[in-house]
């Protein structure tokens, strides 16, 4: 690909989705965009690029952006975050929301649905304990294609073997030919909608838990910081944020603090209070120690 063409796609992708593409990944543009050129009946990728320069068609741009996303995911990916959800976050929120009895969860880059459905299955398993509670799982992604897959909730043999315990497969899936169809009782627990993380978030409302995993890695620090800052306003003050294994808030935003004992778990930085008791030697440590001793104690 010519350098000038590379630059065109690079700035287009950055502007539309935040994706940072470096010159060593230029082969990815070739391999993923050639099929798009074909789909749009261009003679070649070069022909598509020419057209794009002249008349930037929004539908074509959308296809290009979607083609460049990485949708790699799996059920209960990395195990730990789901353990943290179940053993650490849920008990705290069940106590804190016992009047409201509503908990809102946002999966902010849900790909083909394995992440929100994993949460839904955990909640289903706890059905008896959660009688009278309302759980809303809102799952969003930038790609309509991947959202369609998520809604269909039909998975290959390979997909249902990565991370999914066999008991869950037996309970919550039906075998239809070569594929495994998630049952409606789980499917109906998740609501999907197209959402670009670069867009204003306020229409989504506020959440008690945000899963934003394995998407920030594709962005530069400025975009990461911007997304995390805006996410912090959508998260309740006592809410929880989960990031992917290779992601952190450190050096990117001061709106969140990592939980030192649970990798991937973050809470909102509480505004400094100017009361006498909070000043003095331990003002910054006192907030940390209160949350380690209170909320996150192993039981």
């Amino acid at each position: 690909m010519k350098i000038s063409d590379f630059e065109l796609y690079k700035s287009l992708l950055y502007e539309k989705s935040g994706l940072v593409i470096t010159p060593d990944k230029s082969y990815l543009l070739d391999s993923r965009l050639t099929p798009i050129a074909k789909k749009w009946n261009f003679a070649s990728l070069e022909a598509m690029t020419l057209q794009l320069r002249a008349i930037p068609d929004n539908k074509l741009i959308k296809d290009i952006v979607e083609a460049m996303t990485t949708n790699e995911t799996s059920f209960f990916r990395d195990t730990k975050p789901f353990q943290i959800f179940q053993e650490t976050i849920l008990p705290v929120l069940l106590e804190k929301r016992k009047i409201k009895k509503t908990i809102r969860i946002w999966c902010a880059a849900c790909s083909s649905g394995q992440e929100p459905y994993s949460l839904a299955m955990i909640l289903k398993e706890k059905e008896a304990l959660l009688k009278g509670w309302r759980f809303e799982i809102m799952a969003t992604d930038i790609s309509d294609d991947i959202l369609d897959q998520a809604k269909r909730a039909s998975y290959t043999q390979f997909e249902v073997q990565r991370g999914l315990p066999i008991q869950y497969l037996m309970k919550y899936f039906m075998q239809i030919g070569e594929t495994w169809q998630l049952k409606d009782e789980i499917r109906n627990m998740v609501r999907y909608s197209n959402f670009n993380l670069l867009d204003p978030m306020s229409r989504l409302g506020s959440f008690d838990i945000i899963f934003c995993r394995n998407v920030l890695i594709y962005f530069d620090e400025k975009t990461k910081g911007d997304i995390l800052n805006r996410m912090s306003t959508q998260l309740e003050n006592d809410g929880f944020l989960l990031l992917g294994g290779a992601e952190t808030v450190l050096g990117i935003t001061d709106k969140f603090q990592p939980n030192p004992e649970k990798r991937g778990l973050y809470v909102k930085t509480q505004p400094k209070t100017d009361t006498p008791s909070a000043t003095g030697s331990g003002s910054s440590t006192s907030s940390t120690s209160s949350f380690t001793s209170g909320l996150f104690k192993r039981t």
């Binding site: 990395d78 195990t79 043999q157 073997q161 990565r162 066999i166 008991q167 497969l169 037996m170």
Partner: protein, 124 residues
């Protein structure tokens, strides 16, 4: 070192499984059918058994039923690993006391993911 007994009548499958299991730091023993596996377990119970279904002499399911009757036969974790990929086989295996179930073809990721699930190894 912890031992995993691989029970499969295909030499190729045993070899592939061995490579994966050794990477996961298991000592690997092999059996070609349920009968051989049964005899192995009579002398020493492995920690894990990776078990094919269809084999000559004694099938995997028959072996599993016998194993669970043996003294300390409830201690090994049994992971089926078979081309049988329908719900009724899975249900039957779990009823007979299997701990997990892998549908062939398998790869490192799948074995690892299943072993993590039943607490045999930790997420790194």
């Amino acid at each position: 070192m912890r031992t995993c007994l691989v029970v499969d009548d295909s030499r190729v499958v045993r070899k592939v499984a061995r490579r994966i299991l050794e990477d996961l730091h298991f000592n690997c023993e092999e059996a070609e059918d349920g009968q051989q596996a049964y005899e192995y377990c009579a002398t020493a119970m492995p920690e894990v058994i990776l078990l094919d279904w269809n084999m000559p002499v004694m099938s995997g399911i028959e072996f599993l039923e016998k194993l669970r009757q043996m003294p300390s036969g409830d201690s090994p974790r049994v992971v089926f690993c078979t081309t049988e990929n329908d719900m009724s086989h899975i249900q039957r295996a779990m009823m007979a006391g299997a701990n997990e179930y892998i549908m062939k073809p398998f790869d490192t990721d799948i074995i690892k993911s299943k072993f993590i699930q039943i607490g045999l190894i930790d997420e790194e």
